[in-house]
């Protein structure tokens, strides 16, 4: 069997031609021909207006598109401004297109981007998702500037979200990562982010790339790695994020498996770091640190509630093996509540997650099954959130989120106790 390499010879040839860059923007793609041309143009415009002197490259890592995505990337052209005499960016604006043989994989795409950043000695990098339909030059610039001009190593995005959007981040990922790793970064799982070449090299050199957690959510892993290794981190406000029309999005089971699975895996791999951290610290934020819009997202609350109840009933034996007895009893009690008077409070939710994280650590059952068992409980928490906040203002929702975060921080000793408990 010939040895398989991450980088193809063709990609290596392209990297050799580019040489060294100041800025790299990565575009992982899979069948994004309809939107990726516009994304490329926006990135080019960012380069021309914001970074006309810098050595720049766009790297498209494609997971075997059948719709001509790569061709669109290569052919996208920014209309020339008539007064500029065509001379806006001083240097050649490079584009690299590469495909990997395997099925679409965030891990392979991300690792390829890190390798490109490392070999090109990029100073600042950004990853942009072609699944987002409203990318602006301000987005790209906001992700690159803190790294390139202010020496940050990791830039997490902040979006302006409708109040029922981003519930997984608001109710789970943010409060739990904040309480454990001690940094107040709201979006640790995002398809847009910025990072330094230094951090890219650091991450590339970690022996983690064959683990499923990193393969499915490498961006989350990078965020936590940056926090744990004390790379300077910040947040940059990007504005509203609108998915491409017709995009199916990720179903909640997959989303939990990918994001929570990676978060739990990171808790395990970074155990020594988070155990020692107390409380949490804000990170520098460029732009508003939160911006909820009052726009509502349609959700089928009834279905969420039914799935919670049926899930708890079906998974009762499994939950018993995961949860502490009092937590399990409380879950069972909550599951009997009438849907109009339903309440899944932050204390129960926090303890539930602590129990799940500890169970993941102790491998009490198949980890994938464990993560799937969390989904009905997450639905219960979300139903409660939707019920309580149907008329809440953005500020009230923010206050409630902060309450949840504080509760997570308060319960951290419980997590440690459960984590360290002998099974």
């Amino acid at each position: 069997m010939p040895e398989e390499f991450l980088l193809s010879d063709d990609l290596l040839r392209q990297l050799m031609s580019v040489g060294e860059v100041d800025l790299l923007v990565g575009l992982p793609s899979h069948n994004n021909a309809k939107t990726i041309g516009c994304t490329v143009e926006t990135i080019e415009e960012t380069f021309q207006h914001g970074f006309p002197r810098e050595r720049v490259v766009i790297v498209n890592v494609d997971g075997g598109s059948k719709d001509g995505t790569s061709e669109v990337v290569m052919n996208a052209t920014l209309p020339k401004h008539p007064s500029s005499r065509g001379l806006t960016s001083l240097r050649t604006e490079h584009r690299i297109v590469t495909r990997y043989a395997a099925a679409p994989s965030p891990g392979i795409a991300f690792r390829t981007l890190l390798a490109a950043a490392d070999l090109l000695r990029a100073k600042a990098c950004a990853v942009i998702s072609p699944e987002t339909s409203n990318i602006t030059t301000q987005w790209v610039g906001s992700l690159l500037q803190p790294v390139y001009r202010q020496n940050f190593d990791f830039v997490a995005p902040l979006y302006c979200r409708p109040k029922y959007d981003g519930l997984l981040a608001r109710n789970l990922l943010y409060p739990m990562s904040r309480a454990t790793f001690g940094r107040r970064i709201r979006e640790i799982h995002s398809t847009e982010l910025g990072f330094s070449g230094r951090l890219a090299t650091h991450c590339l050199n970690q022996d983690v790339w064959n683990t499923e957690a990193v393969q499915v959510a490498p961006e989350t892993w990078m965020a936590i790695t940056a926090i744990c290794a004390d790379f300077p981190c910040c947040q940059a406000f990007l504005g509203p994020k609108e998915p491409v029309a017709g995009s199916s999005g990720t179903d909640i089971v997959t989303a939990v498996r990918q994001t929570v699975g990676t978060l739990f895996w990171c808790l395990e791999s970074q155990e020594r770091v988070w155990m020692e951290r107390v409380g949490s610290e804000p990170v520098p934020t460029f732009g508003p640190d939160r911006e909820l819009s009052s726009q509502k997202v349609r959700v089928n609350r009834k279905r969420i509630f039914d799935l919670f109840r049926s899930g708890v009933a079906e998974l009762s034996p499994l939950l018993k093996s995961i949860l502490a007895a009092d937590t399990d009893a409380e879950i069972q009690r909550v599951a009997t509540l009438d849907e109009r008077n339903f309440h899944f409070d932050e204390v129960l939710w926090t303890r539930t997650l602590c129990d799940f994280a500890a169970a993941y650590h102790h491998s009490r059952l198949n980890r994938d099954h464990l993560l799937q068992a969390l989904v009905p409980l997450y639905r219960g928490r979300i139903y409660s959130f939707l019920l309580e906040h149907q008329d809440s203002s953005p500020d009230e929702i923010e206050a409630d989120s902060e309450k949840l975060c504080v509760e997570f921080e308060r319960q951290k000793p419980y997590l440690i106790e459960r984590w360290n408990a002998k099974t």
Binding site: S17, G19, P52, R53, R85, L90, R91, T92
Partner: protein, 546 residues
Amino acid sequence: MTDRGQTLWYKDAIIYQLHVRAFCDSNNDGIGDFNGLLQKLDYLQSLGINALWLMPFFPSPLRDDGYDIADYTSVHKNYGSLDDFKAFLAAAHSRGIRVIIELVLNHTSDQHAWFQEARSSRESPKRDWYVWSDTDDRYREARIIFLDTEMSNWAWDPISKSYYWHRFFSHQPDLNYDNPAVFEAVWGVMKFWLDVGVDGFRLDAVPYLVEREGTNCENLPETHAIIRELRKRLDQEYSDKLLLAEANQWPADVSAYFGDGDEFHMAFHFPLMPRIFMAVQLEDRKPILEILEQTPQIPETCQWCIFLRNHDELTLEMVTDVERDYMYDTYAKDQTMRLNLGIRRRLAPMMDNDRRRIQLLNVLLMSMPGTPIVYYGDEIGMGDNIYLGDRNGVRTPMQWNGGWNSGFSGADPERLYSPLISNPVYGYQAINVESETRSPHSLLNWMKRTIEVRKSSRVFSRGSIGFLQPSNHRVLAYVRQFGSEKILVVNNLSSTAQAVELDLHAHKGDIPIEMSGRNLFPRIGDLPYLLTLGPYQSYWFRLRRL
């Protein structure tokens, strides 16, 4: 001897630009002169150049280094006499060196007899030879060129109590070409020098000859009509003569000065020059490719003139704001280095005296389409003195040897028209013709060899250019072709070694022969042609089908 019948001689020329004042002083008065220049013609011949461009040497108050002419048909006494000039001209011609002199047609000195007569009264017969106004608000759309010194294009004349028009310094009133008598007088001046035997004129400040309300007073159709008439008379009455335009404009605007081959023979390609500097600093071929893509085709009998540095500041008028800022930040960090919209420095200091970069720029100069101009002293890597005012820092005496006044003059050093460069890096003790002549690997001897190779083929002077597009943007590669002769030029613009794969399938079967060492390289085949280049390295390959 010059070949008098070679009508396209200017295409094959390699021009050396100098100021008589700065080159060699024969009478020990501290100022260069024509007799001194004559003594140095052997040096110029050995360098390999075959044309000289002399900056203004006419009587002048010298408030703008001779570009303020007070008498068009004499020689400034500092530089000798008309007979001295004629002797020099004959000696140059006998060595195969043609001589292009400079004429400033747009304006005169305010000391010129024409202007003195014009200002003497509003009824003077010469009054209408200049542009007068009772107010200073005409032609408001015309920009001010010397931003650092002039507030307006109008100046008040207290004698005739009215304003006169000047596009340059206020002591340089513009001639009024709407008056046919002015045109006839100027043609008379040109005839005078053509009859003396000069080979051509570099006409200064061409775009500004005519003014019209509601325009920017540049490149007007009336200006072109004047040039066409001058050219017509030149062709009717003389053969083998040259008109070279100084028009600091975008290529599309300058190319209009070629007309249909009935205006100028040559014009400077101003926008290319800063982009060569930019490309080397950026280590990216993009600036050069972009400006050449915007350069229109010109008539067959016409030619661009290209240069790296000259007597003026490195002009940044024909660049974008972003490019100008970059050039300033890169090459003129010290504000003293900046003048008007440009950088008043010489080639070697701009390249931080990096021999490899100086050579690369000269290779580009010698291999790109156009007639190259070498500014005096740049062939030995002379430095500048940014602490001298205006553009005098790049106009210091030529450095001939390490002895008294660098061999330029026997006068007391205090009497020299300008201090010598004497710092440890660029001073005449370190950088001079004599020491570089003795060193086989000096910049001077490298220049001689490069000029010799350039002159070995008319491909460089007359051939077409086709750019290759290797994926490595740090490599600038092109094929020059003239008839069946082809030369491949490959330049590494970067400070590090580079590999490049060239798509040479159009030349499949040709054998590249490196032109300086005449070494054979592998025959071009089906695969991309792989070359490796050291930092700032260049190759010139003659492609032969054998």
